[in-house]
Structures are given as structure tokens and as C-alpha cells.
């Protein structure tokens, strides 16, 4: 079954992924995604009834640390890469109102 990806789908996924595509890019994205999904669809040939989805390949479990403060103030180093900074804080365009 061939997937035909609509403009709306590309628009929607663009919102989820916070990507803005040009009209040409959108056209390309529709094609690429359609082809990939067609390709991925071959997984449907496999009967996976009763197979547990495997999210973690190793049987590592219960990895925890103790509740002990190990970090000091490293603000300066962490802010060093900020595109913009004010009063020891990161900045973003307004989110209020």
C-alpha cells in the first residue's frame, strides 16, 4: 500500500518537530516520508503477535544513585555557550501574554 502524505500531515509534523519547511522542502518531505513509510510497511509482513516490544536490549535494571549532593555552582561554565544571557539567566522571546 502506497502512502500518500498530505500537506496537512507535513504541516502537523512540522509543528511537532518545530521545523519550518519551504514549499519545495515540503514537497520533498511528502515524497521522502511516503517512500520511507512504504518501505517500513514491510514490517507488517511479520507476525509479531505476542512479542513484547524490546525497548532496552540488555537486561540492566535498577540503576540508581544515592541522594547526595555532588554538584556545586557551575553556572558560569553552563552559561558560556548561551546565545544570549541576562542576569545569570538564559533568554527566550516572550512567552507571556
Amino acid at each position: 500500500m502506497a502512502h500518500s502524505i498530505t500537506d496537512e500531515t507535513i504541516e502537523y509534523v512540522g509543528i511537532l518537530a518545530q521545523l519550518e519547511l519551504s514549499p519545495e522542502e515540503k514537497k520533498q518531505a511528502r515524497q521522502d516520508m511516503g517512500r520511507m513509510l512504504d518501505y517500513i510497511d514491510q514490517l507488517k509482513e511479520l507476525d509479531t503477535e505476542g512479542v513484547e516490544p524490546l525497548s532496552h536490549v540488555l537486561s540492566v535494571e535498577n540503576v540508581m544513585r544515592e541522594d547526595v549532593v555532588t554538584n556545586g555552582d557551575m553556572r558560569e561554565a553552563l552559561l558560556a555557550n548561551a546565545p544570549e544571557e541576562k542576569d545569570g539567566m538564559f533568554t527566550a522571546p516572550r512567552t507571556f501574554g
Binding site: I40, L43, L54, H56, V57, L78, P83
Partner: protein, 487 residues
């Protein structure tokens, strides 16, 4: 012997025995870089001054007897997705153009503790997404064996730098073959350890459940020595495993007598280049002659690994790359009044085409209404693939096959058709899905003189068997110099 023709372990020995200094080793690689880097473009960032300073420090410590490991004083390249404190780390992406981490990846820190000298950061596919190093925002790397061809990817810069003599060893990362395939294309040895063997702390994530850091080296001995250094149970990476068998160099025995080696028939089906098939089967014959029991078998599910992988990797990548938003670090688009406009412009301008393609796909397969049909389905197939390998390892110590269906393609050939490029990962990808260790080592060249890679796959935590078989093959084939000089 020319200094840059040495292996890392040979150089380390020469330094310890005072035949060479760490500074001379740095000068030697920078002489090669001077000569070849303009053409090959293996590195994104080089730090000659820093490397020389560091070499002096290391030399002093060696002379004071404080450093005596096999890799002390050896110049190394680091893939640009491993964070290095104070050294720009870009993932070959515009979005991290000026990112200078305040911390060092655990694997790199281990390498530094062992006395290695970092000379720079190697080029790669942007965020490790690609198989040719052509998706780098800083331009492609070229294959030292023939600069008209790609070096493979995504760790193409690391593989090419080692092959060209621009460093003695390098670290890469392997999510679906990104260490093994460029190693194969450039004629060096590359290894992907069992998931959880090397800490991912400081490795900028692509597909977190699949990513492993691995060595790219001149021969199997170097590979074992480097892996021994970087393997660690790291409290900062919850997915690392406490292993007591990481003395990998102890496994370097020229002995495969009675070792059971399986060749999956499905790896030699349609799509495999004739020259590659021939070389790989010849390598199997070499091992058989050394006493290994080599048999063909049906692995099954091979064709499903690629679609399952791209679903899972894209899904994880879409989430892992959300943090690149122009607020805390990296590129930020100018003149945006509105938050979402800033996000969108920053990310659209900061990420390259292939990265955006995978983010879009990943966001889609996780989105409401598709999660079960795509993402969970892929995780179920992943479970089946692991089962298929578990069954195979009940019968065999090692699985043998090609690394890639072809030798290195020409520059510009692969990006035209992404799906075709993805299919080139068919023999490497299942290894990541199943968390297995695998090694890629040179086994001759094709009719154009391009290297062919042999892949050996081991069961989880059985790197030693893998290294033993690889070492025995390398010995029989005449060692790395022989392989390199076939053309």
C-alpha cells in the same frame, strides 16, 4: 620504519622505550596533516598547539614513570560528536557551530587518562546521520585510498584520518554501522562493542538505545588496546554494564582451532557486489584453513533490520534533537519576536536536510495514532531480531559476513537517493538492534583497488572471541601493512 607507518601500540612502545618522544609523534602526524588534510578534510577542528603542550606533559609523566600504558603519548582523533572540554564540538552541524563543552565525554576522558594526545575533532555526517560523511555541514571527507570516493560514515573523518596517517587511532560512534562501515571503506579496523560497554556520557546522542562509542585503528591489536582503555562502568551512564573481562588485549591469540564460525546465507543474497562477496568468502576460507569450523546457516529477518532500525533511530533522534532550540547553546536565528518562530527558524536553518528528514520521520512514527503501528511494531521486530541472533549464537561463536554490500561509492552518488543509502547498512544495522559486538577489518580490495571489509559479529559480551578470530585472520592475511599495500 617511518614513524607514521607504525601502529598505535608500536608507537606507544617506541615512546616508552625512549626511541621517540610524544612531541615527535605529534609533529609527525601534523606533517602528514600538512600534506594531505587540504585534500581529505578528515578534521573539523585541529589543535596543534594544544596537542604539543599535552604531548610534553605526557612525555614528562612517562619519564617520571607515572604513565606506562600501551597508548601513552599516541596522537588520537576524536569524532566531533564526543564532547571535549574547552574544544569546540559541533556534530558537524551548523546548530552547534560554536559549542564548546564544559565537560569531556567519559570515553575521551579515559583515553586521556591513558596518556593519549588528542589532536583534534574528526569530521562526520551531521549528528551521525548518514553513511558517507557527506551530510557534514562542513563539507565531505574524502577517502584516502581514492579521493574521488567517500570514506563511508558517519565516522568517516575518524576512519580516513587513521587510514591517511593523520593520527594513529581514533574514536567513532556506531549507531547502525557508523564505525564499521567507514573502517571497511578506508581499509582500517573498526569495532562496535556490546551495548553498555563504553559510556555514552558526553556522546551527543543520535539513537540512544543503539549508540556505542568504538575504536578505529590500524590493526586488531590497537583496536583491543583502545577498547580496553575506553570500556568502563560509568555511574553517569545508567546503561553501562559492570564487566570484569575488559582485558581485551589478553584475547589476542592466533588460534581459531575448533572455533565455530557461521556464515549467514542471507548476507550473500542479491545486492552484494561480486568482488566483496569473493573477498569475504576468501577470508572465511583463511579461517577455515586455520582450523575454524565454518558453516553456512540461515539467520533470517535480515531484510527487516533496516526498516526497524530507521523507525527506532529516527524516533529517538527526533526526541534527542529537541534540545537544540537556540536557547541554551548553539545557533539561534536572529530577529524573532515570537518563541515558536524562533524555534522553527533556528532549527530549520541550523539542521541539514538529512537530519530534518529523520526528525520528521521520527516525529511522525511517535505521533498520536501511529505509535503502535510503527514504533511499537519496530520494537517487536527488534525483539525478533535479537532472538534470531540468540539462536545463531547457540550454534556459533562468531558470525562472519561482509560489512557493506559494496566498496566506497563515488562522492555525490549516495545522497540522491536516501533510501538506497539506508539499504547500504543492511549488514551492520541488526548488530546494533541486538546490542552485539562486531568488528570490521580489511580483507583485500576490489578491482578498483578500494578496500573490502570483513565483518565478524560476536554474542553480547563476547568481544574476546571476536578479537581472537579477527587477530588470527589478520595474522594469516599478513597483518595490516600487507592489507594496506595490496593496491
Amino acid at each position: 620504519m617511518k614513524l607514521t607507518d607504525m601502529t598505535a601500540v608500536e608507537l606507544g612502545t617506541a615512546i616508552r622505550e625512549r626511541h621517540v618522544t610524544a612531541m615527535e609523534a605529534v609533529e609527525a602526524v601534523f606533517a602528514v596533516i600538512q600534506e594531505r588534510e587540504a585534500q581529505l578534510h578528515c578534521f573539523v577542528t585541529l589543535d596543534r598547539e594544544g596537542a604539543l603542550r599535552r604531548a610534553q606533559e605526557v612525555q614528562k609523566q612517562i619519564e617520571a614513570g607515572k604513565l606506562n600504558g600501551p597508548l601513552a603519548g599516541v596522537p588520537a582523533g576524536i569524532k566531533d560528536n564526543l564532547c571535549t572540554r574547552g574544544m569546540r564540538t559541533t556534530c558537524a552541524s551548523r546548530i552547534l557551530e560554536n559549542f564548546v563543552p564544559s565537560y569531556t565525554a567519559q570515553s575521551v576522558a579515559r583515553l586521556e587518562q591513558a596518556g593519549a594526545v588528542l589532536i583534534g575533532k574528526t569530521n562526520m555526517d551531521e549528528f551521525a546521520m548518514g553513511s558517507t560523511t557527506e551530510t557534514s555541514a562542513w563539507g565531505p571527507t574524502k577517502n584516502p585510498r581514492n579521493p574521488a570516493h567517500v570514506p563511508g560514515g558517519s565516522s568517516g573523518g575518524s576512519a580516513a584520518a587513521v587510514a591517511a596517517g593523520e593520527c594513529f587511532m581514533a574514536l567513532g560512534s556506531d549507531t547502525g554501522g557508523s564505525v564499521r562501515q567507514p573502517a571497511s571503506f578506508c581499509g582500517v579496523v573498526g569495532m562496535k562493542p556490546t551495548y553498555g560497554t563504553v559510556s555514552r556520557y558526553g556522546l551527543i546522542a543520535y539513537g540512544s538505545s543503539l549508540d556505542q562509542v568504538g575504536p578505529l585503528c590500524r590493526d586488531v591489536r590497537d583496536c583491543a588496546a583502545l577498547l580496553e582503555v575506553i570500556a568502563s562502568h560509568d555511574p553517569k551512564d545508567s546503561t553501562t554494564v559492570l564487566r570484569r573481562d575488559t582485558d581485551f588485549t589478553a584475547a589476542l591469540q592466533d588460534d581459531v582451532e575448533g572455533m565455530r564460525i557461521g556464515i549467514p546465507r542471507d548476507y550473500f543474497a542479491e545486492g552484494l557486489a561480486a568482488d566483496v562477496r569473493e573477498r569475504v568468502l576468501a577470508a572465511a576460507q583463511v579461517l577455515r584453513e586455520r582450523g575454524a569450523v565454518v558453516e553456512e546457516f540461515d539467520l533470517s529477518l535480515v531484510e527487516y533490520a533496516v526498516p526497524a532500525y530507521y523507525t527506532i533511530a529516527a524516533a529517538e533522534a527526533s526526541s534527542n534533537l529537541e534540545r537544540f532550540d537556540g536557547i541554551k547553546y548553539g545557533y539561534r536565528a536572529r530577529d524573532c519576536q515570537d518563541l515558536h518562530q524562533m524555534y522553527k527558524k533556528t532549527r530549520s536553518e541550523g539542521f541539514g536536510e538529512e537530519v530534518k528528514r529523520r526528525i520528521m520521520l521520527g516525529s511522525f512514527v511517535l505521533s498520536s495514532g501511529y505509535y503502535d503501528a510503527y514504533y511499537l511494531k519496530a520494537l517487536r521486530v527488534k525483539a525478533l531480531i535479537r532472538q534470531a541472533f540468540d539462536a545463531a549464537f547457540a550454534d556459533y561463536d562468531v558470525i562472519l559476513g561482509p560489512v557493506a554490500p559494496t566498496t566506497a561509492p563515488l562522492l555525490g552518488e549516495s545522497l540522491q537517493d536516501p533510501l538506497k543509502m539506508y539499504l547500504g547498512d543492511i549488514y551492520t544495522i541488526a548488530v546494533n538492534l541486538a546490542g552485539l559486538p562486531a568488528i570490521s577489518l580489511p580483507c583485500g580490495t576490489d578491482r578498483h583497488g578500494l578496500p573490502v571489509g570483513l565483518q565478524l559479529i560476536g554474542n553480547r559480551f563476547e568481544e574476546k572471541k571476536l578479537l581472537r578470530s579477527a587477530f588470527a585472520y589478520e595474522k594469516a592475511a599478513g597483518g595490516f601493512r600487507n592489507c594496506r599495500e595490496v593496491d
